[in-house]
Amino acid sequence: MKKLINSPENVVREELEGVALAHPDLVRVHFDPNYVVRADAPVMGKVGVISGGGSGHEPMHGGFVGFGMLDAACPGAVFTSPTPDQMLEATKAVNGGKGVLHIVKNYTGDIMNFEMAAELAMAEGIQVESVITDDDVAVQDSLYTAGRRGVGSTVLAEKVCGAAAQEGRSLKEVADVCRKVKAWGRSMGMALTSCTVPHVGKPTFDLPEDEMEIGIGIHGEPGRTRMKIKSADEITEMLMEPIIKDLPYKAGDEVLLFVNSMGGTPPIELYIVYRKAHEIATKHGLKVVRNLIGPYITSLEMAGTSITLLKMDADLLKLWDAPVKTPGLRWGM
């Protein structure tokens, strides 16, 4: 296992210590239970926005805590949803009196843990709304299953909800923004290599030198299909077509195009993918009005990419462009 770590047990703790040392102006890190919280939390009179999930997806979520985005993030063990006590403490820490939004990715573990935390927080008199992101079109959707995974659009939801909260909107209004992202965001990812979970010590799956996984999850879950590696253009098509087929959009709609690195894929390749994704979106009559390109929701050191499309309206554009100052995303200040 080739990693810059000390011991598998200490990965999350030491990463959080690094975050605390690196960004004291933006965030505070609380240990036992673990959560990352805005340095100036709670912001009174503002809706709190929190999220959380397994570690290994950095900068999501801890790197998105700060002005104009998350108020707190709860990191679990690597690829393991955090526990209710973390979310409960974080919820209390960011409660500025206007309630708290929980942005939850659609995984059974995340949902159940957040649900228990929300029940406990509400029992303590804090208003909580939860919105579940489930944008991964690689997963066959069905009433009888757990539905789709929450992936790339979670990052976008955190940005626009954070901006809406910063603007002073009510809990319902902020949650409505999140529901809009849930309705309008679609993603799909692929892997060129497996990741290695530190405490496992070997790759989650074996992928021969000439094969790739299409429809991969962000935890190294196997994808839709395994096949011979293809060109970047062909791969981009394989990701874009299911997204666009699934999109509730029509020609002429404006979109944000997010090309993400799974962790091990460098910028030079992302721009080659972006080029084709932009071309395909345009061919379908979509107008790419914003973009995000880089490692924002990673899967440890996995090589690969995911693409997210989010339909934008005037309000989402305004919220996207609003100032943000976090370790992982920053503009306007």
Partner: protein
């Protein structure tokens, strides 16, 4: 013919041992259709439970179960955390104040535990989850109770039923939990949660076989 506080604590210790022993095995099962953490999660949780042993030493069985549940809840995470947390919390509610459990008490506790898991996770039999091990185990227990079987036999039958339920998850297509994202590709693999449930119930049968 009943389970004492010490028996209970011994069961918890034996769960911790058996989960530590099967950590890699459970992780391997989870790697195939999930995210390769079930073994580490359960092991981390029961190690935390072991650290609570001193404070549980003089408590009633209900408090023991509740302590186990709360500890799992705040240390396991993932799907396993809330499910096994709820499992022990619910068992604890039914055993509140008890210093020993009869077969009937244990059946009632397990029934509540399973109901808690189902309430939390909304899985049905055949969804390829821990419910596929727990439900047959509970049914076997109920049958033994009705047939006035001795406790040791009843527990063995219940563990055996859990084992069969666990093995029966192999061909299933998952409809709940992370494995469900795989669709058809989840078939052909044994469910990690059903496996840990079997291990836990089997530890009960083993620990309590002479009680």
């Amino acid at each position: 013919m009943s389970i004492s506080r010490d028996d209970t604590l011994n069961w918890i210790k034996s769960c911790a041992a058996v989960l530590a022993e099967n950590r890699d095995y459970l992780t391997q099962l989870d790697a195939a259709i999930g995210d390769a953490d079930h073994g580490a999660n359960m092991d981390r949780g029961f190690k935390a439970v072991m650290a609570k042993m001193p404070e549980m030493a003089d408590k009633d069985i209900g408090t023991i179960f509740k302590t186990v549940g709360m500890t799992l809840l705040s240390t396991v995470g993932g799907a396993g955390g809330p499910l096994y947390g709820t499992f022990f919390l619910q068992a604890g509610m039914k055993s509140a104040g008890k210093m020993e459990l009869s077969l009937e008490d244990w059946t009632i506790a397990l029934e509540a535990a399973l109901a808690g898991v189902v309430m939390r996770g909304k899985a049905e039999l055949g969804d390829k989850t821990m419910v596929d091990a727990l439900m047959p185990a509970l049914n076997a227990l109920k049958q033994s109770l009705q047939d006035h079987q001795p406790l040791g036999d009843a527990l063995r039958a219940s563990a055996q039923a859990a084992r069969e339920g666990m093995i029966a998850t192999v061909p299933l297509v998952a409809r709940k939990g992370r494995a469900s994202y795989l669709g058809e590709r989840s078939a052909g693999h044994q469910d990690p949660g059903a496996t840990s449930s079997y291990l836990i119930l089997n530890a009960a049968a083993e620990t309590w076989k002479n009680t």
